[in-house]
């Protein structure tokens, strides 16, 4: 199975975990949503992320979802989120998913780390625990983790651990961070892959600043694929035209606590998953939200038609 490397690029879609209306894992939809992501042009998948409702799964469910997704994704690399409060469980989960064929693991700093020294020490302990042969994605998402990682701290971690091959960049604001990372590389630091998150809401600018792609979710992953491909090909204006057509929905999906309901609503409407249900405490999109999304979808469809 393929491993992620510092050269990985393109779109790694953060996959949703489909549930039935009564809260069970919907295994049929795992296959269909995996197929959908690959058919949309995804270069990879990331499962068991925060937006994949990973913390709501039991350990055996998490392993089952991983096994099924890996089987279905076949040769496409699948990154598995293993973040958690304890290193022993993180190590156990990492070994399990790497044995199954995962392309790497993603690790966010646990809430509660407070200083640069603590953050640096944490990633050293992670690498020591899982071994330096497992490719790691460092997830930098302070809005949720409440752990801001300064550019200097990030640099020290990258320099210390060659097995950290990729940054899931979702600091906010974060455009300057991409530029500063690339400038440090221009001066000699080893290059890492940077895939961006935050639902893609700054994707055109992020690509122009030197990102290698996106690692995030959206009801229309084909938007991210097109924008990344057009940007990589130097066609910035066309990339932004596509992006702008989807932007009203991207923006709407970015609402914390509401976004996953929007995303699953769209995916269910598109027939990709059987139900938009989330496990508790997630709530379905309320009727007023449904009306707002439907209105945005109708406008989006017209706008895309004008573009073609």
């Amino acid at each position: 199975m393929p491993l992620i490397t510092t050269s990985s690029k393109g779109v790694f879609v953060i996959a949703v975990t489909p549930f039935t209306d009564d809260g069970a894992i919907d295994t049929a939809s795992i296959d269909s949503v995996t197929d959908f992501y690959l058919e949309s042009g995804a270069d990879g998948l990331t499962i068991l992320g925060m937006m994949g409702e990973a913390p709501k799964l039991t350990q055996s469910e998490a392993l089952a979802v991983t096994a099924q997704t890996l089987a279905r994704a076949s040769d496409t690399p699948v990154v598995v989120g293993v973040s958690g409060p304890g290193l022993a469980a993180l190590g156990e989960l990492t070994r399990a998913v790497m044995d199954m064929g995962a392309a790497g693991v993603m690790v966010a700093p646990p809430t509660g780390l407070r200083t640069n020294e603590q953050i640096i020490a944490y990633y050293a302990q992670v690498v020591q625990t899982i071994g330096s042969d497992v490719p790691v994605v460092l997830q930098d998402f302070p809005l949720v983790t409440n752990v801001p990682i300064s550019i200097d701290t990030l640099g020290q971690i990258i320099e210390a651990h060659p097995s950290i091959v990729m940054l899931k960049h979702e600091d906010w604001p974060g455009l300057a961070k991409i530029s500063q990372l690339r400038q440090a590389e221009a001066k000699g630091r080893r290059r890492i892959s940077i895939l961006c998150g935050n639902g893609g809401i700054f994707l055109p600018e992020e690509m122009a600043r030197g990102a290698d792609g996106a690692m995030t979710g959206f009801g229309y992953p084909e938007m991210m694929v097109q924008v990344c491909q057009l940007a990589a090909a130097g066609n910035q204006d066309r990339a932004q035209d596509i992006f702008d057509a989807y932007l009203p929905l991207v923006r709407y999906e970015q609402q914390p606590g509401v976004g996953l309901g929007v995303r699953k609503y769209v995916l269910a409407k598109r027939g990709v998953i059987a139900s938009a249900a989330q496990r508790l405490p997630g709530a379905p999109l309320p009727p007023a939200g449904v009306a707002e999304v439907e209105r945005l979808l109708a406008r989006q469809s017209r706008r895309l038609h004008e573009l073609n």
Copy 2:
């Protein structure tokens, strides 16, 4: 001078405070930016807000900016932000600006309040300190204050204090909050004015949910005026067309810590203020940001041309 009431509506622009390149207050630009906001169709102004760099002013500067703005704005209502850690200073500033002719004062909860009881007690102390005859805007902005105000808590505060006539709504996500407030009013609670913030990034949906307008800033305040007027007139689609044309820039200006640099860059470019300078620790828009903004402005101009 006019006072704000529970019937106030439209766009109250959060005014920037103009500085010269060496950090002094630029009094000539205070007049020109005030004129610009009024000519753009603003129904009111709000000064000494967080995005007005109020905490960076000395007390005497704050009073001077208020006096000059009030004189220039003439009959247009001007709300003054008086939030601060202490009630004595808040009371002193409130008395001073109301004597000068302010239309009301805006008060956010101080960082550090933790429970509903504490938030409720705080607003009781505020009203007791400034008197129940001063119209108050309650600023609900948990992303910055770190004080989430639940819908039930908000309701108790509104019921207890008739002098709180307006909500500056910038909870995020916050669409459901608008709907719930209006539902409670439909069942008998007194109606208050709701003006929305967050740079207007959900303005079309907010208006449809029952907001009375916007109280926020943006380099193109005429967008907010048009969207609010079209929405109030029931022309939702045209409102959204206008909104969508500006959305790429709205989104870009929403970056925390970067947004004010964008806004001042645009206002300076439009000739409304002489310099985009911010006081420390604010930083000017860096060259890469300038290039991104210029690109967005060129696209925005083309898009608006297509719409007309």
Copy 3:
């Protein structure tokens, strides 16, 4: 096996999880530390708490520790901490430990809950998930969870869920909370058991305010047993004499991030566990700390001798 009830009282010791120097679970020490707690006069035990390094255990380790402790504790009630980010895992763990014979489960609110409504909804979902026949300890520890629970919110939760039989009280400051809970009960609300935490640093005052005992850890659990028994017998002054003799060490053990190292050092020195080792990222007490603790222990021993 006994279940906890609203009448439970006395000292439930928060048990440490013993590890060997190389980080494996030290099963021999689990037996010896369990025996030690019971011989010290504990009325119950609480395992898999934050100070029991629960988040550092894998799921199978957590279950093994639980099974062994339950077997060794025999008829003494053992509460098991099941807090975690997801309800499915919480439910699975609860079922497993209740089947093994646990006396109840302890649940802290997950970091990220922000309003009274969210906290209330969370405990409703917990009770719905685990069933209303499982006795629950609500852990109120905002210093760590970052979720302050107001007295009114706490009251609503208690009224809604009879299966929440006990409060692990470690709000800080929290003396008024105990008084207010007891006052509400005097006016008719059902009584719950209140056991106090925070390393016992306010134990004499907490007992006088109406607490039923302590649920916390300390290198000398016999102090908590004596203080609770003396206080319950009305001998406040003798209780405080005992407390004061241990207070310099209680205070020293209260240092966040350092306390567990102190506690394990003392327990290892007393021969109760074989090693003071913690799993990463926990660090052993450094030499300067060892010297400080030894000095406090020598003084404590002299002071206790004077008291007898």
Copy 4:
């Protein structure tokens, strides 16, 4: 008037601001409490700190309190807290109090700084704003500011700005920080004065680790004076005997949000200030708290009698 230096040591008492029962500043009590602190053996005073209710004063009140205290303290150095959200106001206040004869100013990082780079930049801006000739106390109090300052960050700030002559140390836990600072100095970094806070609850250990004294408040400042003098003279055991006698009250006064009520109650009972009143939102010690404090005071008196 004397300035603080890197050699300053002993006890700088954090002074309370006395109010009358109706919330006015009690100028007579300012003189009497100043006299009391000096007669208790204080080596300096610190006014307008967080526990001095500084944020509750208007600007003119803050200046009046400063002028009166400086006049009364005569040759004793008085540090003035100038922390605030904006640099312009901080600079203005600093100039005013230094002109009046203050010994230096104390600056805590504003809530909202998130990374080491931001903290380092902030202190550079502070020194640039107030001038490098004004002695600065860096207040490191993350429990309140929510800005943890790592040991490495602290070192960079100290090395960059010789005018930062003193650390008000109240990180928690913080014993290791004192040791690490002194170790860095032993290797060549310039020495700074370290005075410790946190109500003195770790004062014996802090002195043994290399602190130069205390900068904090307590109802019995003579305890801090004795402990610091005995510790400086190498009489650790006697220092700890004195400390232990006061420890039950020190502990009680450490309760956040309650502590100032305790301290003012004790000072009023001792006749040092006329009223224990705090300005809103501060609340007086409730009757149950008064009873607890009286009980502790009676025991403390007996214990001190035994010691002499």
